[in-house]
């Protein structure tokens, strides 16, 4: 080793850094032969010791205790703000790639599930013989609750949905609980907030039922308003509907602009899906 090569490794040697064995041996051998490089190494080692002493004198130095208290207060404020904020979405900005596309993939999978299930329901419905019109014009409130009733006065009543609640419950693999509530157009309009322009006399009864459905989807449950599952949906076109209780990953909330705690993104949450008469998912609300 010559002086130039020694210069390249002198800092690592003085700082006791990892060096290849033969490099270290060559360097030390050179020190034994070159007084100038030996003196340099001595200075470098002295500097290393000095810097370590300097670091040691500051070993106990730390931020003032008041800073921790201030930061904790800020942390509490932020946490409280995030919990109460309806629009804060904690999405990773520069995280791993999978974090960016995972919520989208989940939402797409859920929608695909609904679409496939809806197509199956449609096929079942087409295979079913057309029911009697009398059944659709039943006037009692009980009939309104349990059956699908056409809204347009004067129109030929359509057949009730052939898919029964039990069938709906098997629409998706993730469906745990199917409510199977059938809703008339006015009730759908009330739920969606689209206004039922052609309400029947049963509106008041339906409204109370809808309100109950909107505010408390179950005992002790809190629900959001229904939101359309895709842009461009004309919600006025929903003549009849059916609510189906499903579970889905929490990350799906982000698709609807709701706050998501990404740490719990993998957990499952409950949601009610409003399925139109065509078997397609039209709206969704989240239930806690």
């Amino acid at each position: 080793m010559n002086c130039k090569n020694f210069e390249a490794v002198i800092s690592d040697l003085a700082r006791e850094q990892m060096l290849e064995a033969h490099t270290r041996e060559d360097a030390l051998s050179h020190v034994g032969e070159c007084a100038g490089c030996a003196a340099q190494l001595e200075d470098e080692r002295a500097l290393t010791n000095g810097l370590r002493s300097l670091a040691a004198t500051m070993k106990q130095v730390e931020a003032p205790a008041s800073l921790e208290a201030n930061l904790l207060a800020r942390f509490r404020e932020r946490t409280a703000a995030v919990e109460t904020s309806p629009v804060v979405v904690q999405m990773p900005q520069r995280g791993a790639r999978w974090q960016r596309w995972y919520p989208h993939a989940v939402a797409a999978a859920v929608l695909l599930m609904f679409a496939v299930g809806g197509a199956g329901m449609l096929r079942l419905r087409q295979a079913e013989p057309v029911a009697s019109n009398q059944k659709a014009t039943a006037s009692s409130e009980t009939a309104k609750v349990n059956q699908t009733v056409p809204v347009n006065t004067g129109e030929t009543p359509t057949a009730p949905a052939a898919v029964e609640p039990d069938t709906v419950a098997t629409v998706g693999d993730t469906t745990n609980e199917a409510r199977g509530q059938k809703l008339s157009r006015n009730e759908v309009a009330l739920i969606m907030g689209t206004g039922g322009t052609r309400r029947t006399a049963s509106t008041s009864v339906s409204r109370s039922r809808v309100n109950e459905s909107r505010m408390t989807s179950g005992s002790g449950e809190i629900a959001t308003d229904f939101m359309p599952v895709s842009y461009g949906d004309n919600l006025n076109d929903i003549d009849n509907g059916r609510i189906v209780r499903v579970e889905m990953p929490r990350s799906a909330l982000a698709q609807f602009g709701l706050p998501v705690n990404m740490e719990r993104a993998g957990e499952r949450i409950k949601a009610d899906v409003l399925i139109g008469d065509d078997g397609m998912a039209r709206a969704i609300r989240f239930v806690r």
Partner: protein, 212 residues
Amino acid sequence: MATHLTPSDDELLRLMMAGDEAAFTALYRRRQAGVYRFALQMSGSEAIAEDVTQEVFLALMSDATRFDSSRGSLSSYLYGIARNHVLRRLERDRPFVQIVDDGSEGGEQQQLAAWVADDNPHDELQRNEMIGRLRQAVLALPEHYREVVVLCDLHEMSYVEAANALGCAIGTVRSRLHRARALLLGKLNASIMSNQEGTNPGESFKTARCFA
């Protein structure tokens, strides 16, 4: 420098992001001293160090998702934030931050060998004075040299960790550290020489290096 702590920084960060106050406290207590010392050693000002430490943890609080564990440790990430804040503060406060350029105060002969002989009892005062002189010499380094000395020599970071914190290549860290140490020796040498008027210069640093 790398130590395995339980729970890990990443675990604490995940809990913190979920709103766990205890996790934030644990993370803060684990990392605040390093961040504070780094800012202090870079700036020489306790006020700046305190401000920077606060900014670092506020940044972590407000946007922890910016941290990507695949790109380095949380510690390096925090040092990186601290470094940016320190440089910003130094730039802003430059007219008001006093950085002593040399150690022209004092009259005693100082010897580098005093640091080597750590156990020499009568050199304690002398050592303390030399440490003070060294602190000033570090503060007088240009910032891009100062930060590698602080991280690698004072905080005993590996080249990899320092490169992550500074956002540069490992080779850059090595070469800057080499140059920074040579500058430090030069400053100390000049300081000692200036205090040895008429005395034997052979008692101080023995070497000078050329980086032409």
